[in-house]
């Protein structure tokens, strides 16, 4: 039996989908037009850029190929990071940690920044599953009075300000080597980050990136299971009983929980 509410929802969704024919939800062009922002108005250019990207790139954005349109994932919007300029630092930092290469996609293509955004929006970002009584002693991320989410923001802004100071350019526009220099200083514990050891933050950033590359795609990373494909890891396979004793390496097409778990 089809649930009526569910049916209504579906119809509603179809209506919305048909309106957003450029595959971006409410299109950038119509938003700008309707809100009056494009006419100058009260919002300055910098903020406009932060919110929407460069509005003058509209033509380019709308001329996406059909395959790119199909890949649009409605869960890929920022839930935790309110400032676009923080998020692009995160994108670049994770890409340096797990770069695109001959083996396959890097952190950005795998959806790692969105994975981290979702993690920080939940209990991980608020340390909600942890012991939180004071006094807070120690310099590790987990020992801080600050939450993981707060520490991420402090660190990413630090990366950006260091890039501006050293290279006169924002982190996300700096050269790879320049970005690496800053990350290495974090890793070495040489960056002042309130009461947190920057090397411990770097470990968190590094580990979060690996998590986003290889966790089940249900968390928003490991897009298309490409992390698993590169690693020749098969995912949620019910049984390996048949291959346990054999010498040959077995390559399998990966299975994610969306196909493994029972569904109605």
């Amino acid at each position: 039996m089809v649930d009526d509410n569910f049916k209504d929802d579906q119809e509603q969704k179809e209506k919305v989908d048909s309106k957003t024919d450029d595959g971006q939800g409410v299109s950038r062009r119509s938003f700008i037009k309707n809100s009056g922002i494009a006419a100058g108005g009260v919002v300055g250019g910098a903020l406009l850029g932060g919110l929407l990207g460069n509005p003058f790139e509209t033509e380019e954005t709308t001329s996406q190929t059909d395959s790119q349109k199909q890949e649009k994932n409605p869960t890929e919007a920022r839930m935790f990071f309110t400032r676009y300029e923080d998020f692009v630092v995160l994108e670049q930092a994770t890409e340096r940690i797990f770069p695109k290469d001959n083996n396959g996609p890097g952190a950005i293509e795998l959806g790692v920044p969105y994975f981290i955004d979702k993690q920080l929006a939940g209990s991980r970002g608020t340390n909600a599953n942890e012991y939180r009584e004071g006094p807070f002693v120690g310099s590790k991320v987990v020992d801080s009075r600050l939450t993981r989410g707060q520490i991420f923001i402090i660190a990413l802004r630090k990366m950006n300000s260091l890039s501006n100071e050293r290279f006169d350019t924002p982190f996300n526009e700096a050269e790879e080597e320049q970005q690496m220099d800053i990350l290495k200083d974090f890793e070495a514990g040489e960056i002042d980050m309130k009461d947190v050891d920057s090397s411990d933050f770097f470990t968190l950033l590094r580990d979060s990136t690996i998590e986003g590359a290889y966790a089940d795609p249900l968390y928003g990373g490991n897009r298309n299971m490409d992390g698993w494909r590169m690693k020749e890891y098969p995912g949620s396979v019910a049984s390996y009983a048949d291959i346990m004793e054999q010498d040959e390496f077995v390559k399998m097409d990966p299975v994610s929980l969306t196909d493994y778990q029972q569904k109605s």
């Binding site: 340096r96 940690i97 797990f98 770069p99 290469d101 083996n103 890097g106 991980r124 340390n127 909600a128 599953n129 942890e130 012991y131 939180r132 009584e133 006094p135 002693v137 120690g138 987990v142 020992d143 690496m180 990350l183 890793e187 590094r206 990136t209 690996i210 998590e211 290889y214 966790a215 089940d216 249900l218 968390y219 992390g227 698993w228 590169m230 690693k231 020749e232 890891y233 098969p234 995912g235 949620s236 396979v237 019910a238 049984s239 390996y240 009983a241 291959i243 346990m244 004793e245 054999q246 010498d247 390496f249 077995v250 929980l257 493994y260 778990q261 029972q262």
Partner: protein
């Protein structure tokens, strides 16, 4: 004011193996049992489709809820301790089945040597060989007495295994044959045999075939899906309390589990316990559950802390050496006693992603009874092993040491070596020291305002020397196995206990022995000073041998339960007369 409930025959704190075994045996005998479990109501249904590495293996979803309580740690008594705030490597669990739902299933028997450790070392190497601050002691029971209980536990849990050629005598075979043999296990065994060792298949609580245990519970055949340790079993194919003893207890109609029931005190007067006090953490309501016998069967931490909070027994004082509760903490500390070696193979790939919790092989050629400690700068010894638990992708990114931990080279090497890597692991015995102990922390409290348990632990040359020695032996095996690169962690004088050391297998605190002078409980896990109080579990180990503790926890729980029944049927009193110590 606590609501006072009707009295029951037995109240059990905790529903892991120890509590579950007590529940099954007491209810089968017709006694009414209430089990109080601080965590969630968990059933096998919760594990169906649970192949989620991030949730279980990385975030450790089945570990203790630290928002309510945690432990604190430090190295020495002149330091302030720091709380363990998140869910790192410390494995103790929450919820129905306790830590036992997410265990790997390695099920060993301790050595006859372990149970008589002080006597055996004195006999073999002389009294002077034991450092003055090493508080090893005989357990008040010998292997031959415990053997029938090991046998019983192995049959309840359907252990799959083969006889250890260097192991102690057994009254019967394992109930199931060993698990499947993989290429890496074959390589380990062949290399070990070529070096003159005696490898055998690791005894496993993952089933090599479908099995019905003596209580009539069916455990399914393991399918080697690799989501095992740190997970609950997707297929009911790992022996845990949920599919065995708790199920058995439930069938009797004499059993009730109350979840979210956080026990805060054991109530007592004079020489008896009268019940326990607990809080329903979902309502905040406080209850008193009276009982004829009280069974405290939580993890080592919970057992020790409940004794300290309830003011039962004398807290251990490291300055004077007086007191018992909190004494003799030992564990397989991750950065030292659990260390192994890595082998990288350029031309061979393994199906490393496949496996199950206790799939492997072990050898005991350097364990306590085999090794000659006249030739070593440490006492006791270790086992070496190979295991194929199934390598999940976040947690397993093996790279040779000169590889950075991130960036292009890391990505390239970690992808290349993921399925070209094997490890030879080890576990070493940990011997207690007078300066290592547990007590109540003066600074940090739980959600009820009660002080947390504090661990004070500092390594000594005993552990470091043992680790250095065993790593050399493990390297030789890995080289014999043909690895192109063999690497081992560096053990230095700076290798020290910290929060990442706490891996699992923490024992002690409410230790057993043959006299109240040296122990809190007798070999029935009966408190010397409260005859109807049984404190069961790893907390009773005077030291941890070179094996996973669960087999011995299971055996001691069956032994304890026999004592509980005897106590309930008889006229009370101590089940064993304390031995008079000839104090020097």
């Amino acid at each position: 004011m606590a609501i006072k409930l009707d009295k029951t025959d037995a109240v059990i704190v905790g529903t892991g193996w120890a509590g579950g075994i007590a529940a099954a045996e007491l209810t089968k005998q017709g006694y009414k049992v209430v089990a109080l479990e601080r965590g969630e109501d968990i059933s096998s249904e919760d594990f169906i489709g649970s192949k989620d590495e991030l949730k279980y293996e990385v975030r450790h979803d089945l570990y203790q809820d630290r928002t309510k309580e945690t432990i604190t740690t430090r190295n020495t008594t002149d330091e302030d301790a720091k709380p363990l705030r998140d869910q790192p490597t410390d494995t103790n669990g929450d919820g129905t089945g306790g830590t036992s739902t997410h265990w790997a299933g390695w099920t060993f028997r301790f050595l006859p040597f372990d149970f008589e450790i002080r006597s055996k070392i004195e006999e073999k190497y002389g009294e002077d060989r034991i450092p003055e601050d090493m508080s090893i002691q005989d357990w008040g029971i010998i292997y031959d007495e415990l053997e029938p209980y090991y046998d019983k536990f192995e049959k309840t849990a359907g252990i799959s295994g083969e006889e250890n050629p260097l192991g102690p005598e057994r009254s019967d075979d394992y109930p199931n044959p060993p698990m499947k043999e993989t290429p890496s296990i074959r390589m380990f065994k062949e290399a070990a045999e070529a070096l003159g060792y005696h490898p055998y298949r690791t005894p496993s609580a993952n089933m090599s075939q479908q099995y019905e245990n003596p209580d009539g519970e069916t455990i399914n055949a393991c399918v080697y899906c690799s989501f095992c340790e740190m997970y609950g079993c997707d297929f009911g194919a790992k022996a845990d309390p949920i599919v065995t003893v708790l199920k058995t207890a439930k069938k009797t109609d004499n059993f009730e589990i109350r979840n979210h029931a956080y026990v805060t005190r054991v109530l007592h007067d004079d020489d008896k316990a009268s019940g326990v006090l607990y809080v329903d953490t979902q309502t905040g309501e406080e209850y008193e559950q009276p009982a004829d016998i009280v069974v405290v069967a939580a993890y080592t931490y919970g057992n020790t802390r409940l004794m300290l909070l309830s003011e039962i027994g004398e807290p251990y004082n490291p300055e004077t050496g007086e007191g018992i509760i909190g004494k003799n903490i030992t564990a397989h500390y991750g950065n030292l006693l659990f260390t192994g070696v890595d082998g990288f193979f350029e031309d061979k790939k393994f199906n490393s992603f496949a496996g199950t919790g206790a799939l492997g092989a072990t050898l005991d050629d350097y364990n306590g009874h085999q090794i000659d400690n006249n030739e070593t700068d440490f006492l006791h010894g270790f086992q070496l092993n190979i295991s194929q638990g199934g390598a999940e992708p976040i947690s397993n990114n093996p790279v040779p040491k000169d590889t950075p931990s991130w960036g292009k080279e890391f990505k390239e090497n970690s992808l290349y070596y993921t399925n070209r890597h094997l490890g030879v692991g080890s576990m070493e015995a940990c011997l207690p020291r007078e300066h290592n102990f547990m007590d109540l922390d003066p600074r940090y409290n739980d959600i009820f305002g009660d002080p947390l348990l504090r661990l004070t632990v500092k390594f000594t040359d005993q552990e470091r020397n043992l680790a250095k020695y065993k790593i050399e032996k493990a390297k030789e095996i890995m080289e014999e196995m043909g690895a192109d690169i063999v690497e081992a962690p560096e053990i230095t004088d700076e290798t020290e206990f910290n929060q990442d050391s706490i891996h699992s297998h923490t024992t002690g605190g409410v230790i057993m022995g043959d006299s109240p002078e040296t122990s809190a409980v007798n070999n029935y896990s009966q408190m010397w000073e409260k005859e109807n109080l049984f404190v069961v579990g790893g907390s009773s180990f005077p030291h941890i041998g070179a094996y996973n503790p669960t087999g011995t926890i299971g055996a001691l729980a069956y032994r304890a339960t026999e004592g509980m029944v005897e106590y309930l049927e008889g006229d009370g009193g101590l089940l064993i007369e304390p031995k008079e110590e000839d104090k020097a």
